[in-house]
Amino acid sequence: MADACDTIVELKGVEKTFRDFWLRPTVKAVDGLDLSVRRGEVFGLLGPNGSGKSTTVKMILGLLAPSAGKVALFGLPPGSPSARARLGYLPELSYLHPFLTARETLRYYAGLCDLDRATTRERIRELLDMVGLSDVADRPVGGFSKGMARRVALASSLIGKPELLVLDEPTSGLDPVSTNEVKTLVKTLAAGGMTVLMTSHLLGDAEETCDRVAILNHGKSVAEGRVSDLGTSLQSFFLAKVGEGRRFEVAPFLK
């Protein structure tokens, strides 16, 4: 059992029920979830579409309040400024301000993290070098390709030197080269001591990157453990836990 100080994210009996305008329950997205992410590990939150991964991440980030249970980030409520100061977040899509340049984007987020001018300048230079965008740093990001925009978003999530980096589907929609770059970067950051929590439904990526995974299905955790202890491929393990899905009858359509 990990030491309490080493637990960065902790969820106990967390539930999230979405309600309509009349407050009638519509969907129970997360149902009694217990989870803990320890310092220095790369933790993968896996599951099919609609399994509750993104909802869980948004509760950890403080963007959604749980309907029941408790979420703690560094032992603090997730919405507190001191917890948010130690957090970096890369959403599923980059969501950048198209009129800002890459440098201005990073400067904006540096300001939100309360970095002073000298640190901001130094950090922006390092991050632009790291993601290979120094040459286009002064071009508006609205004209960037998806891969380049992703790199800007990744750099901006790291601007505050976070202790915990939350990545929501970090390789979603990227070409193989960009995917490989992101995976290498995550591994490098983890090797440097950063804790990473990532969601994915791309099992190959997760298998390659994560130390530990939890598999969600219908809002519940159906399995949790170290990737190295699975004894089989993550793909087989996942399908065994979640099911193979429906088999489409295409023959009548093709006739």
Partner: protein
């Protein structure tokens, strides 16, 4: 503070790189130069000045107000709709700073457009043109007069029971209106006097009595008589203009205002009817109030009014989607503009129906809620060469520029995560 300045810089960059704001600048300047060609005055230099100042600045102010109200309503809501706002909300920045930063940046944009247009107005006018301080008679407040009249009615045995059963608030409101509009008749050969706070008039000031007739009750018929304020006097004869300004010349160079009453003696053949609270004023000019100073003060008041509207619209954008927020702020602006006229034209009546009462109550509510916007227009004063007084500037700055934006930023910070959650859930 760094987070606040980052948000301000972001919003300023968004404005600087937006075609809409560039268009606003161009349209405002075009309007400033087009007004003299589009609206003609009465042929005099003063008339041309009045028309230019009133319509050019009024047009630009409305344009800026509507544009920035729409921009403010879309500021947070469009970022939330594009899911960018969540990236700001997961940072350690305070939401209050995020909302206030948006407001400040938009106000800065509006202020710069207004300042450029004010500079054009200044270049096209005589900067040293003297303006008038306006004094109204010192009288009992209409409210207190109404309360007194109400008590008298209730105690009187002659008052019909039906009237006694009427809601006190409605009756007092009707009486207050009547007190405000109460006519005084000055018969031929008779005099009337009104007290003024003359302590504010300097010894070297030019002074004039001014009557502003604004009714259709036949009061614009010619009148003849003499005004006197202490040792200063002025005569008027056979005047039929709506606004009559009678210079009061000193009979003695060393004037002391031993008496602070303005006396009018009617030497004409007809009675003169006027409403002291509305129609009678003393105006005095002093060297401290030039057109340039007046324009600067009016600009500060306009920017303050703009701040209140922008703050309200950013708050709406924090709690509503873009389209409902823009719609609500536009309806509010319309109500702010329309409610004073509605209250003027449709007043309480003892026997008014329930539907009318509801409509009036709504108009009155809108009037009260939008009072910071509708109560004082600096452009009218500026065009009429009336001084925008320091107390009006102080009130506008403290309430519209400071308190309301802080209040709406606080509300926006409170409502932002609630709306963000419902946006994610939706």
């Amino acid at each position: 503070m760094r987070a606040f300045f980052s948000v301000v810089a972001l919003q300023l960059k968004a404005a600087a790189r937006s075609k809409a704001i560039a268009l606003l600048f161009v349209a405002s300047l075009a309007w400033m130069f087009a007004v003299p060609g589009l609206v003609s005055g009465d042929g005099t230099a003063d008339g041309a000045h009045q028309v230019f100042v009133r319509y050019s600045l009024w047009g630009v102010f409305v344009l800026v107000l509507v544009s920035l109200a729409a921009a403010g309503a879309g500021s947070l809501s469009s970022d939330r709709d594009a899911r960018r706002l969540q990236l700001t909300l997961v940072r350690p920045a305070r939401r209050f700073a995020v909302a206030l930063g948006r407001m400040v940046a938009l106000v800065a944009v509006g202020a710069s457009v207004l300042a450029v247009c004010a500079l054009v107005a200044l270049c096209r006018s005589d900067a040293s043109r003297r303006c008038w301080h306006v004094l109204s008679p010192v009288m009992e407040s209409p409210r207190s007069e109404a309360e007194r009249a109400y008590r008298r009615y209730m105690e009187s045995p002659e008052t019909p029971d039906e009237l006694k059963k009427t809601d006190k608030r409605v009756l007092v409101r009707i009486l207050e209106r009547k007190a405000f509009d109460r006519y005084e008749t000055v018969r031929p050969g008779a005099s009337a006097s009104w007290r003024f706070d003359t302590a504010r008039i300097g010894a070297d000031d030019d002074i004039a009595a001014r009557l502003r007739f604004s009714s259709e009750m036949g009061t614009r018929e010619d009148f003849t008589g003499t005004f006197a304020l202490g040792a200063r006097t002025g005569s008027v004869s056979n005047i039929t203009q709506t606004v009559v300004t009678v210079p009061l010349a000193a009979a003695d160079a060393a004037v002391a205002y031993a008496e602070d009453g303005l006396v009018f003696t009617n030497s004409g053949r007809d009675s003169l009817m006027l409403r002291p609270r509305r129609d009678v004023q003393i105006v005095h000019s002093s060297s401290d109030c030039t057109f340039a100073r007046n324009l600067a003060f009016a600009l500060v008041v306009m920017v303050s009014m703009l701040s209140a509207v922008v703050a309200f619209s950013v708050f709406l954008g924090a709690g509503l989607g873009r389209s409902p927020a823009v719609f609500t702020v536009m309806v509010t602006l319309f109500l702010a503009a329309a409610s004073p006229a509605v209250m003027e034209d449709y007043q309480d009546e003892v026997n008014s129906g329930k539907g009318d009462r509801v409509g009036l109550a709504l108009a009155q509510f809108a009037g009260v809620m939008t009072r910071p916007l509708g109560s004082f227009s600096p452009i009218g004063s500026l065009a009429d060469d009336e001084c925008v007084e320091l107390r009006d500037v102080a009130r506008a700055v403290s309430v519209d520029f400071v308190l309301l934006p802080l209040f709406f930023a606080f509300l926006a910070a409170f409502i932002m995560p609630v709306k963000q959650e419902s946006a994610i859930a939706g």
